[in-house]
Amino acid sequence: MTTLALTGFLALSSGLLAIGIFGILTRRNFILILIAIEIGMNAAILNFVYFAAFSGATAGLNGQSIAVVLIGFAATEVAVGLAIVLALNRLKGTINVAQATDLRN
């Protein structure tokens, strides 16, 4: 039977969430921002899977089920994000979010 400590996994997902936040705040390209959001979302999904692996049977199965649902949500989010990318590209000719300022005035 595999044995591992939970703390290493928690440190990994903390690091991934920090990388995601860093990417969202620094990048200007919409696709890169989407990728950064995906990295942060994956950190959250990983947490569900760790706690599922280290907890009791019912809680563990619920955790894995929620992870399945979250993977679906993340895929949906990418689809909508790419539709926004295409609309932005058609409207502005660029996908730089610094130039998408139409709603400011």
Partner: protein, 163 residues
């Protein structure tokens, strides 16, 4: 150090390195390659945690579908696919915010047990029974949100729409 610990250490380092590389390289196609490695690496972590169903789902949905979708997004929005992004400076504020988030989360890690624990594995048939039984409403909600968002996405990109 056991074999599992060594495997986890390697996978964790690869995940952090590829995640960072994906956001820092200047060619967008290279970003997609790094992020594909990142997703495959996470799926390997799921297999290590004895969650094979989630590992396969991660490979199919993320490493397969999401990567290709992002690649299509790059293809249709750029004149030359292998063109470089303009360099954007990394200000101190985002770096500080990311560091604060990391330190805040890592400070809570000490609350948990440091000792090694056995990993519980689940039969995928139990998982599907749980997914369609007690967690059925979540799955239904996911389906409804997917339907609504795909309709919204089609509305956003359809031809002849007034901007």
């Amino acid at each position: 150090m056991s074999l599992e610990e060594l495997a986890f250490l390697i996978l964790a380092v690869v995940a952090l390195a590829t995640g960072t590389a994906a956001l820092l390289v200047r060619e967008l196609v290279h970003t997609i390659l790094w992020i594909a490695v990142f997703f495959v690496d996470l799926s390997a972590i799921y297999f290590l945690l004895e969650a094979p169903f989630l590992g396969v789902l991660q490979l199919g949905v993320y490493a397969g579908a999401v990567t290709v979708l992002l690649l299509f997004g790059i293809m249709v929005t750029r004149k030359r696919i292998f063109s470089r992004e303009a360099a954007t400076g990394i200000g101190p504020v985002p770096l500080a915010l990311a560091m604060v988030t990391f330190l805040f989360l890592i400070s809570a890690v000490g609350e948990f047990s440091q000792s090694e624990q056995p990993i519980r594995s689940y039969d995928p048939s139990y998982l599907s029974a749980n997914l369609f039984g007690p967690n059925g409403p979540w799955l239904l909600l996911l389906g409804l949100i997917m339907l609504a968002s795909v309709s919204g996405a089609i509305y956003l990109v359809r031809e002849g729409r007034e901007p």
